[in-house]
């Protein structure tokens, strides 16, 4: 696996993403390009399912870099994000040394806090040199981790180094490409955002969403894909608790195409609405007149 060279302009970036089936807005391509050129983490915020995580995957594939993913959750701590000592193995090593009659404590201590007893977690892995070039580090859904972890990230993201008391400081020879995503289930501290390039990923416009559906669901007919996109775009105008994202559009289009649907009918929409709307309240609201109206608008212009 050899690493591709970094794109040299915003257009090249856009092309690179498109070549991997990611149809990005130009503004997103611009900030991604900038984050590569400036070596700064990219902070992507936006509703669920608009393709924030996807961009990290696409980048790693397109650039031929390793993708290291850190999924955040409440209670994420150093031992599961950065490193942990393999205590069982260390214990055995101590017993072995004892059995062999080794009594040099200094020696013992440096032996058991060595690289081979260390279990490396995503953040530490991302700092290690890789033959293909610095990896892509995806810190996914940072809003799920608690504030204490966020504060810990500050050091890593500004210096790309980790200090391990028994071991010393590990510093990345080349900083990784960092993508951070957040669904805004809570606000991320400004101090962290300041170290990153920030971009709000919005729902795509109808035209782009149509292109995305065509790329991701290859078998779909032109008519159905158009209706699907029009329907979803109309849903986003409604006052729903959770509007469908692009991921839901793709899911739905795939579902419809699996069912061999030719065009949207009340029956088929009713059966598959669960692919789009994820709250019972929203689904209830979509029945009856609202459904009729949206459906009529989506299918009328053919």
């Amino acid at each position: 696996m050899t690493s591709a060279t970094l794109p040299a302009s915003v257009d090249a970036m856009l092309e690179l993403l498109t070549s991997r089936g990611y149809l990005a807005e130009r503004s997103l391509a611009t900030v991604t390009y900038l984050s590569l050129r400036m070596g700064r983490p990219l902070f992507l915020e936006g509703e669920a399912g608009v393709g924030k995580t996807e961009i990290a995957k696409v980048l790693s594939a397109a650039l031929g870099r390793k993708l290291i993913r850190l999924q955040c959750y409440e209670g994420l701590d150093v031992s599961s994000a950065v490193y942990e000592w393999n205590s069982a193995a260390q214990m055995i090593a101590i017993r072995m040394a004892e059995a062999a009659g080794d009594t040099d404590r200094e020696q013992l201590s440096s032996d058991i806090f060595a690289d081979r007893y260390m279990i490396k977690r995503p953040l530490l892995q991302a700092l290690e040199p890789d033959v293909a070039g610095p990896p892509v580090l995806l810190i996914d859904e940072l809003d799920r981790a608690d504030e204490a972890f966020e504060a810990y990230l500050l050091e890593i993201l500004s210096d790309f180094q980790v200090t391990i008391p028994e071991f010393g400081t590990v510093k990345a020879p080349h900083p990784p490409i960092v993508i951070i995503t957040s669904n805004r289930t809570r606000e991320i501290h400004d101090a962290l955002k300041r170290r990153c390039l920030y971009h709000w990923v919005d729902y795509p416009a109808a035209e782009r969403e149509l292109a995305i559906v065509k790329t991701r669901v290859p078998g779909i007919s032109a008519k159905l894909s158009q209706q699907v996109v029009r329907f979803v775009q109309a849903l986003r105008d409604q006052d729903f608790y959770k509007s469908p994202g692009v991921a839901e559009t793709i899911d739905w289009a795939t579902a419809l195409s699996e069912l061999d649907a030719r065009s949207l009918t009340p029956q088929v929409v009713g059966d598959t609405l669960g692919a789009l709307l994820k709250y019972q309240d929203d689904i209830t609201r979509m029945q009856g007149d609202t459904l009729q109206k949206v459906l009529k608008d989506a299918t009328s212009e053919d």
Binding site: L34, R37, T103, R105, D146, A148, R184, T185
Partner: protein
Amino acid sequence: MAINHLAPEQTEQFADNIVGFARALRAAGMPVGPGAVIDAMSALQVIDIGNRADVFATLEAIFVKRHEHALIFKQAFNLFFRASEEWKHMLDSVPLPEQARKTPQAGARRVQEAMSQPRMTETPQHQEQDLRLAVSDKEILQKKDFAQMSAAEISEALRAIDRMHLPQAELLTRRHRPDPHGLRLDLRRTLRASLRTGGEIIDIHRLGRIEKPAPIVALLDISGSMNEYTRLFLHFLHAIGDARKRVSVFLFGTRLTNVTRALRQRDPDEALASCSASVEDWAGGTRISASLHNFNKLWARRVLSQGAIVLLISDGLEREADSKLAFEMDRLHRSCRRLIWLNPLLRFGCFEAKAQGIKMMLPHVDEFRPVHNLSSIQELITTLSRPLPPHHRSLIRSAA
């Protein structure tokens, strides 16, 4: 590896422009630090500055750190980066903002009051008497309704609120720290300690779960009927927000406003002033249902995700009480750990839930408490500092 495409004199002019732009953003209320200006300069050197859209996206990524600021940024960008002639013309015609709106500084009132205090000319005997009086005054003050207080009593109440300390209502987190009584074995520290004795484990180190205060989210009704209470409640929320960071405050009348950031300022007067500056519908009508809907839709997932306690401070006098209100209350109730409704109307002993709105809301709260004087606020604090129920469904509807 910044590449400098620009001639030196061009760069200089560019730098001036960016600095000016950053200042304009700052004047518009966006937090733009000097670091961002430097970032912007180096970013603009690696993109094609002939492309306006790219310049926009670049500067946006650097200067905008919150989605709410995107709109301000867009307007500022369009205004700032036009043809220079047009811009100059605009500067001539627009009065300078500093002169245009000069509002009295926060805290001015307090300073004024402090200056106009009567001089202390009384004799020591008098002071002694005053002290004795003050003690009994305090008792009266504890029970006195906020709505009937004189200005002096209110300021005394404010001082009492300032002195209140919210003990930690603890929530167990999933993080650990060294704790001799903890349940989990700290293998790493145990091993390190064992090295000192040549590998013999003598002390076993343990880990305990970290406890931290549960977040509090307050929804405060600022409609006309609540007028006498809002300032005191805001003060109270400022006081508890000061000690513990995770307090979010929303004000609602006909619309919902998030004033959490405004309330974070350390000085209570300043905080309250910037709070009222950000609210448009002070002491107007109430639309509880619509405001709750907005909260549920825009904020609930952001501020309630970590097991928050919700304080709903309202008299529940809603004109448009219908099934929507019950629906929104139910949703709010289901998305928080505990929903406490504080209602100043409960001060009347013979209070009955007759109003349609109140009837709609009552089934969906965990607790229904009065909050109209200092002692009821004190009781609230005691409630908040009790250990939290394992899950919020357990102590429902006891007070109602």
